[in-house]
Structures are given as structure tokens and as C-alpha cells.
Symmetry: C2
Subunit: 196 residues, 2 copies
Amino acid sequence: MWNYKTPGIPDEEFERTEKVPITKEEVRTIQISKARLKPGQTVYDIGCGSGSISVESALQVESSGKVLAIDYDQNAVDLTKKNAKKFGISNISAIFGNAKEEISKLEDADVIFVGGTGADTKEIVELAENKLKSRGRIVIGIILIETLYSVLQVLDKLQFEAVDITQVTISKSRKTTTGTMMLARNPVTIISATKI
Amino acid sequence: MWNYKTPGIPDEEFERTEKVPITKEEVRTIQISKARLKPGQTVYDIGCGSGSISVESALQVESSGKVLAIDYDQNAVDLTKKNAKKFGISNISAIFGNAKEEISKLEDADVIFVGGTGADTKEIVELAENKLKSRGRIVIGIILIETLYSVLQVLDKLQFEAVDITQVTISKSRKTTTGTMMLARNPVTIISATKI
């Protein structure tokens, strides 16, 4: 359970499995904020990994809303279900499959998160545009330079406005025997936009 | 008005005045998340500047909670009141004065934000510890190396646990005539901790 209204659940509160990635607390918090969530919304979490964005989104859209989480790794789907249960959440549906095939079967969305999809991201953004309601928000988390380039190219051609590109670099402290040092994490680029 | 549940109001939604600083959207979002807010809480925003953290906090603690914003610059106090009004918020009290004198007059707090206080930060953290309820959260936004050092020194001596040090570096895109470049902002260090 998470007894607070604010997003930003500490990473260590989530169940983890080897090889299934998690969107870390601070980057996740910014992604959730860029999505502009409210009760009653329908959210996709494409490439849900550990389900941390699904859990935070489900808390924001409340029981009147829902989260449709998709991953092509069965371990990720299982872990997302486990984390939904851990946080006492019943409005997440975790779907195993290829997002490119699954998206067309889903109801229209108010918010779509895209992450962890690598080479497919450009295609998924195109499909997502189709399923987003007018004024809906897309939030894409990107690590690869190639993905960043291809998403920027495709966004220009689609019905999006207010495109925001934010690169986030987080460092966290570690105590050494002689003091406190900062350990850098890799930069993540978050692209967000509003469907026209 | 902000019609969403998630924090992270875009900077341009706030009224601004020359020389009064604002905690920018992404850093503000992380600070709010580290505070772990919920309805009914009492929050101090020490060095409130434009009032952006006060506004976001007031929305999270809802009308059953309250925000006590303090600044020694009358322009900041006026601007915080203006922003509270702009967002239709009535549970912010903006107080003009020196935080070191004002804090003792306030009721105990669940969450204390400290920012923009420069050389006084160490002393304010000591006073804040006194006013924080048990399990309350402190969140300190720091730009100066000297402040970072002195706050770390003092935190060790006070009744705090789960001390988290997160450095955040944000870059934002700008369109040039030939493409998209990233413009770096200065790093901000956020220290958060729980009162024992």
C-alpha cells in the first residue's frame, strides 16, 4: 500500500525480478507529472516492465479509471501483476503480447506511456496517436539516441502539439569511508506531447 | 485552476515577477514527491519565492490541510498570494518575515520545504527539526556547495533518518534553424529525510 497522494514511490517498495527493468523513482515521477493524470482516465503503459508506472498511474486515475499494461516479456507481465497486488490495486490489466498487435484491440486512451520498446518505438508512437483521444497525452521515455531521433522525426508528422523534450540526469549519494560521493545514473530523455 | 491530480504544473502557468525565483517544473515535481503529501497535512514552504511549491502542496493536502509560506521578500509574498488566487486556492497563508523568527510561532508541521535561504539554511533546518512532527518529512532544495556541505553536517546531528541526496540536472530542447539542441540547466541537489 502507498498511503500518500503524491506519486514517487521509492524503488525499494516494488517487487523486483532479475532482468525486468524498472523506471526509477525520480524519472518515473517526472513521467507521471508530464502525463497530467486525473480520476477516471484510461491509461496504456506500453513496455510496462516492473509495473511501477502502472501502479503510480492506477493510484492517480483511481478506481474510476484503469491502466492497460502491455509487455512482450511474460516475466514483466507477472511482475506487474505482483506489484499491482502488493499495492492493493485492482484497476490494472496486465497484457502479455506485442504492443503493435495488442493496441488495436484496446479502448481509446486518455494517456499513453511508451517505454522500453527499443527499435519499435517509432511504430508504436504512430499506433498510439490513433488510439489517443483528442487532448490526450503521450509520454515517451527514451534511452537510445537512435530512438530519440526516430521519435522526433515521426512526431513532426503526426497530430501532436506542445511537444516537450526533457533530458533528466540523476545522481544519488553513496557514503564512503571518508565522506559522501555522488554516483551518476544514465540520462533519460522524456518526450511528452498533446494530441491535437 | 489546475484540473489534474498529478503535480507538475508547467512553469508558464504561474504568474511571475522579475527577481522572484521559481522552482522549475521538473525539480519541483521531484521535491513534491519526496515530501510524500496527503490530505489534511500542515506544510511549511520556507523561502516560497513565486509560490509554486506552495500551490502544488496546497492541491495535494486539499482543503483539509494547509500551507504556511514564508519569505523575507515582500514581492515573493505578494506573488505567492497572487498565484494562490490564480489557482483558486484558499489554504495558503503567505507570511512576510524572517523564517528564523516566524517558525516558532507556527503550529507543528507534517512536511517542511526549505529553499532559497542561502546562508541561513543550516539554522533553519535546526529550527525545522523542532517543529516537525514525528515521521514528518523535510525536503531541502540546494544550489550552493557551501549550503550542501553545511546541511549534510547538521543533518547528522539531528533526529533524522532515511536521508536521501538526489542531484537533478535537467536539459530542455530548443529548436534552432537546423535542428533540435538541448540546453542545460544548473544542477539542483534535493535532500530529503524523515524525522525520527
